[in-house]
Symmetry: C2
Subunit: 343 residues, 2 copies
DNA sequence: AGAGTTGAGTAAAACGATTTAATGAGCGAG
DNA sequence: CTCGCTCATTAAATCGTTTTACTCAACTCT
């Protein structure tokens, strides 16, 4: 203030470790050690350093530290699912629910979370994202984000199930989830129940299909697996559902494993004048905004994403610290949330 | 896979600009210029450099670049509102809706968004967050985040209305929003309509109160302004509402400007056996998950947070680039979303 | 022809922290 | 007394990029 060195510019030049060292009468190395505790420093010296830090208002230059140590204390969360299914109408959804919890977990580990928006081109999305490690949500069999991260040597923890067997992951129990929902729908007499899954090769779709085929075989019901490109989202499911209604006049239940597909299904059923749940019962996997806001609300499962996100961050920190840990971490079990769409 | 060079260790040592320079037969400085375009480089030379980059799989070290240039291409979004009101039941809400849109807008500007979780201690939350600039959501009169950012010289854009008049901000039209909602409630005959706002000194609360007092004065209705600590959240509002029901037997409408307060109000009304909307009408400001999921759903306003977030990011990039721009940016006008709670 | 300008490139400095290797003091054991 | 050891400290190296200050050659104008 007193010295008129720069009016328009912010920051009058921030104090560096050198300034602190000079004021405290020690060397820069000692300042570093005093503040980080990496090496022993005399009590009295440390106090002098701390006083100097306070006097100068010294704030370490994180960029320099990051550069030198190679550690940014930053974690990223991302998914290769297109926004049509990962985000949703009001931009919330699976991804953001994970991100919110992950941000808090990250903070508890002294790390920051960056949000990588779900766009088509991972190269662009990651171009200038600095990160020590990444959380990848439900990767596909050949996942562009995963490829890029691997190429760059970024440690990754997968939420869901990884396409390779050398990656740490949080088991979200795809089988149990699908079984829970399909079993629930089958509790009432059923003539015909098609399955709608994403067209991309993701474990969540594959497991849902496997369980579906098993249960249909066991009950002697016909199998109708409809694959919808994820990017087509709600509208894609709506059109597919209209086709299904024409082809399968006696369908009386639908399992749409992706919530955006489920709302598309509901839309088509409304348009076709089929009453839910009286004529057709519907269930989906993720109990998010879409499922709850639909009328009637959609039967779904509570995936405990907050807990899953926390586990993923914990596991990632273990990985970064080199602490031994099992490759597969058991996530919480899904809990059925029955709602109007299947009652 | 084929070469067994490193089993346990990631990264065999990444190529640097030096390696690229050697392979291309130029100096490091030329490589930098060729890639960034900062200075003219002969077409043929540039091609050699690009070939070397491709061959070595060179990826610039962002930490070094950040260190050297002082630019991290990272923006942060944060709020001093406690999680009880900013996040909510399933961790989603205002903050995350802004964050999601901001992340995408940031990407369009070649920047990354970091999510600062809403915890009490800003010092801790920001300790190792690297950022060129910040988006601050609805700061309080004396805002700890704002103080810290100012002290560190971080450029800030405020969403809502800043407590100081030297900060760029996006006008969310607090007055109009409050007017819209209160006016809507008053369209039906009203005997007594208390106002519930947050106890902290935020412009959003203050404006809601000002409009409320004006409208009450104009219609000759009694004024009852209840201030609830934000951290008390839904439960605090529930208790306050129970007290109100006792004190004001003829209350027939409530304007709870914070959505968490509104759901607390609904809870209390249910417990007291007051039918909504028949006996008491309720409205809140933000049309988020809470408002939509409540039964009956809450009348609220669409604040167009995605657009607001985009404007904030745009404005922040202007600020960082030193481009001239007005201090106040007009956000989209709120739109009333009438729902069951006031019909 | 000489002065000035432009284009393309290079060598070296700079950024600010952490870490390594070296130094010296103090102390106990032989 | 000296060797070996610990403790506290320092000087200097280091990380990889961008940028500054130069150099040199090739042109353009008078």
């Amino acid at each position: 203030m007193a010295n008129g060195q720069d009016m328009n510019d912010f920051r009058t030049r921030r104090a560096t470790v050198k300034d602190v060292a000079r004021l405290a009468g020690v060397s820069p190395g000692t300042v570093s050690n005093a503040l980080s505790g990496a090496r022993a420093v005399d009590r009295e010296t440390r106090q002098r350093v701390e006083a100097a830090v306070a006097e100068l208002g010294y704030v370490p230059n994180l960029a320099a530290r990051h550069f030198r140590t190679g550690l940014s204390n930053t974690l990223a969360v991302m998914t290769s699912m297109p926004p049509a299914v990962s985000a949703g109408s009001s931009k919330l959804g699976f991804l953001m629910e994970v991100a919110a919890s992950a941000a808090i977990s990250a903070l508890e580990h002294n790390a920051t979370l960056v949000l990588v928006p779900p766009i088509a081109d991972p190269e662009t999305a990651l171009r200038n994202v600095v990160m020590d490690g990444a959380i990848l949500i439900e990767p596909a069999q050949s996942d562009p984000f995963l490829d890029l991260l691997t190429r760059r040597g970024v440690p990754v923890v997968v939420i869901g199930q990884p396409p390779r067997d050398d990656l740490p992951w949080i088991d979200m129990h795809y089988r149990q989830t699908a079984d829970l929902l399909i079993g629930h729908l089958l509790q009432q007499p059923t003539r015909c129940m098609p399955l709608l899954i994403g067209a991309s090769a993701r474990a969540s779709h594959a497991e849902a299909e496997a369980v579906y085929l098993e249960r249909m075989a066991a009950t002697g019901l016909p199998c109708h697996v409809i694959r919808i490109p994820e990017a087509a989202g709600e509208e894609g499911a709506r059109q597919a559902m209209h086709a299904l209604i024409r082809e399968l006049p006696d369908l009386d239940a639908v399992f749409a494993s992706v919530d955006a597909f489920a709302t598309g299904v509901m839309c088509a059923l409304r348009e076709a004048g089929r009453a839910v749940p009286q004529q057709v019962r519907v269930a989906t996997r993720y109990d998010g905004l879409r499922a709850r806001e639909e009328r009637p609300a959609l039967t779904a499962t509570n995936l405990h994403l907050d807990a899953v996100a926390g586990l993923a961050i914990d596991r990632l920190m273990d990985l970064l610290a080199g602490r031994p840990a099992p490759l597969r971490v058991e996530g919480p079990l899904p809990v059925l949330v029955p709602r109007g769409s299947s009652a």
